[in-house]
Each structure stands twice: as C-alpha cells, then as structure tokens.
Amino acid sequence: MKIDIQRITEGEESLVLRYKEATPTINRILDILRDQDNRIWGRIDGETVVVNREDILYLESVDEKVFAYTKDKVLRLDGSLTSFLMETGDDTFFRASKSVVINVNRVISLKSLPSNRIDITMEGDEHLIISRRYASEFRRLLRGEG
C-alpha cells in the first residue's frame, strides 16, 4: 500500500483513503476516523481489540500494567491510569483509589462506609472501594462541584 503523507502550512487539512478491500487495517483506520474519541484500543492475548469507552466498567492498574474491564472482556491497555484520565478528559471516569478508575455511569449503587470510604457496586455486582483520599472529591463530582 502506498502511503503519501504531506505536512501543510496553509489550506484546509484533508485525508483521502483509497482502498479496494476493507482489510482489518483499513477497518481500524476507519474506526479511528469515524469515532476516534469514543474508542479504546487494547489487547487480549496479544490481539488488538477495540471497545466503546462507555462499555468500560472500570480500569485497574496491576504491577504497572493497566487493565480495562467491560462486562465480558478484560483488555490490557497501554499507558497509565493518569494518562488514560488525561486523554479521555471525561469526568465520568473517576479515580477511586491509587490503582482503580471507575466509570461513574456504570455504577449501580453506593454505600457509605466508616472512615469516609465508599463502597461501589458496579454493573455485574462487582464491588470496589473509593478510598477516603478520593471520597470527598467523588462527592463533589456527584454534586457537580468537581
């Protein structure tokens, strides 16, 4: 496949993709172009997989590796939890502890725990804890003060 990349200083930016067959590579490029803000790329057993951002229930960092959990998949992501939060820039993803980021829209219920911690029940009945360090910030987020 011939690749022609030109950097321009003037005029309108454009991107033309000419293909005969929709190969996986072409589909991936198209996916990025169509919905680049809403897709998350990850790997399952070495295979590249894409999921909608809103399908992610939570992300967890284990031994400096980041995993994203959906209802039925566990994806390994590149980068860190901090870089994920910076890239998404979406307040529906909230840091619940040093190693966990939750998707607030996929939370079923909350339970107040002693020492100002919060127990979260995610879809799929998984329980996570918002540590006291982040609990006040979470309360502010829910009140729209974040």
Binding site: N105, P114, E137, R139
Partner: protein, 156 residues
C-alpha cells in the same frame, strides 16, 4: 481530576486528629454527665477540677487507642469480636483510672454502673454513626442517579 482537590498527607492527618478531638470531647461530656449525676445523688453540688482534668486527658488517651489500636470501633460497620474487645478494653481502662483517681469515691458499685454506662454509650454512638451512614447512602445514591441522568442527556 486535579491533585489539588485530593487531600495532602498533612490534611488527612489533621482530619484524623480533629476526629480524635471530637471523640474525646464527646466521651468527656458523657463521662462528666455520669459524674455529675453521681455527685448530685450523693448530695454534693460541686465538681472537682482535678477529676475533670483527669477525665479529659483519659478521654484523649483512650480515643487515640480507639482509633489507632482498635480500628475506630464505634464507627465500625458491624460489631464483631475485635470491636467488642475494643469496647471492653477501653471501658476497663476508664474504670481503672476512675477507681485510682477516686472519681466515684473508690466504690465498687458506682464503678460497675459506670462500666455499664460506658458500654451503653459506646453502643449508642455506634448506632448513631450507623444511622448517619444510612442517611448518607440515600443522599449518595440520589446524587448518583442525578449525575447519570444528566450525563445521559448530554450524550443524547
């Protein structure tokens, strides 16, 4: 989420210390009430400043023990063996100090009643915190639903 919104180690330490101070004052007033009732029943209408000083310092010391050694048992989710042990040990220390300090004239009966009163106080405080959390649950879940509804609307 910016780091400036996350409490620093100093702020978290301060929060814990304020919690201990609050607890110490709470138990001090509970003990002072029992002490005053005891004095009034005995026909004495004055309280010893020395006894009150002993009480507040004892409360501070025991509240530190409560928070750091017994995992803050009066704020626990459930009263299990560890929590009950904490209550018993703290009550025992209060009773020993009250006996040595002569808060109740070194009499056994008032000291035993004091122990029962302390255990009841601990249980009541445990219930108060538990109901406070139940109310908090309702508020949190209502705010969560509102947050999710607003975000759903934004997406649509």
């Amino acid at each position: 989420m910016s780091d400036k919104n996350v409490p620093s180690i100093w702020e978290r330490y301060l929060t814990k210390e304020i919690g201990i101070e609050f607890k110490a004052c709470l138990y001090f007033f509970a003990i002072l009430f029992f002490y005053c009732v005891y004095r009034i029943i005995g026909g004495v209408y004055v309280a010893s400043i020395l006894h009150m000083a002993e009480m507040i310092f004892t409360c501070y010391g025991i509240c530190y023990l409560q928070v750091y050694a017994f995992a803050n048992f009066d704020e626990a989710e459930q009263l299990k063996v560890r929590e009950c042990m904490g209550m018993a040990v703290c009550t025992l220390i209060y009773c020993l100090i009250s006996y040595v300090g002569g808060w109740f004239g070194k009499s056994i009966l008032p000291t035993v009643l004091f122990a029962c009163y302390l255990l009841l106080t601990y249980f009541c405080v445990f219930l108060i915190y538990k109901y406070k959390r139940l109310i908090d649950d309702k508020t949190l879940n209502a705010e969560l639903k509102l947050f999710q509804t607003e975000h759903k609307k934004e997406r649509e």
